[in-house]
Symmetry: C2
Subunit: 138 residues, 2 copies
DNA sequence: TTCCATGCAAAGGGTTTGCACTCTC
DNA sequence: GAGAGTGCAAACCCTTTGCATGGAA
């Protein structure tokens, strides 16, 4: 968690061609140290636990940069807020619409079979699969 | 399109247990006459073509009612706006992130295989599959 | 010095809410 | 006349933008 981890994150940023700054390291620490699914606001809150002067705009800027460099993945799952996923390899999600909890789906639970026929001039960006669940009425 | 269509929509509303009103018929005409994918604002615009005094709030209220009664399906595809789909049977979507165009995916293009293991006390609401595409860079 | 990153506050845009009016049963 | 549906405008919330400050090359 200490020096080594910061060095790792700094390396990750450099490899991605992102100039290293203090705030980016902090945001990277929150998002890139372990698999998480966080909204921008949750990222801000976690960063501010250790660096309270961090601005909301910087978090949004940095999330955008991380996303463009494919360090994180944007998940459109809830109309209220965007989530960011520190796992960028292809995988699917399960979303609890009652609590807002978002998790990875175990690899072998579901599989998508087939190739969509894309209109000419279009290229595939990604395939999102979201399993929506809710608590059973008592 | 004329009387018959309005009667059909009125019947659909009644069967769903939704009291029939003039605005609901108009919104139903826009959403329930043919397969469409529209945002709330697009629905409002189409309704206002024939009934200009319709309010935004009524459209949002009605969309919520239609969704609860499962006459339409809500599609969370774009962080900017929610889309409403007049087809409620299980099917998947293709979304052009450059233009915002949203279409149904042909039935046999993709198939989801397997059953997700749900946490106890949870029930499946639905499985969303979104194929995101973009125009190829020239 | 030039450029980019940052912080702050204000603006933006889709959606929701509060409230008064209207209509229906 | 009670309850629901509607219209209008203001409020809300997440996100973006404008602008001035500060730091790195």
């Amino acid at each position: 968690m200490e020096m080594n981890q910061f060095r790792n994150i700094a390396d990750t940023l450099r490899r991605a061609g992102i100039p290293v700054t203090f705030q980016r390291l902090e945001i990277g620490r929150v998002l890139l140290s372990e698999p998480v699914h966080l909204s921008a606001d949750q990222v801000l809150a976690r960063v501010r636990e250790t660096t309270p002067e961090t601005s909301r705009a910087t978090v949004y800027n940095t999330l955008k940069v991380f996303k463009e460099k494919k360090l994180i993945r944007e998940l459109i799952v809830d109309p209220e807020r965007v989530f960011y996923d520190s796992s960028t390899h292809p995988h699917y999600h399960i979303y609890d619409v009652t609590t807002g909890m978002l998790c990875d789906l175990p690899e072998d639970d579901l599989k998508v079979v087939g190739q969509p026929v894309l209109p000419p001039g279009m290229e595939l960006e990604e395939v999102d699969v979201i399993v929506r669940v809710r608590s059973k009425a008592a």
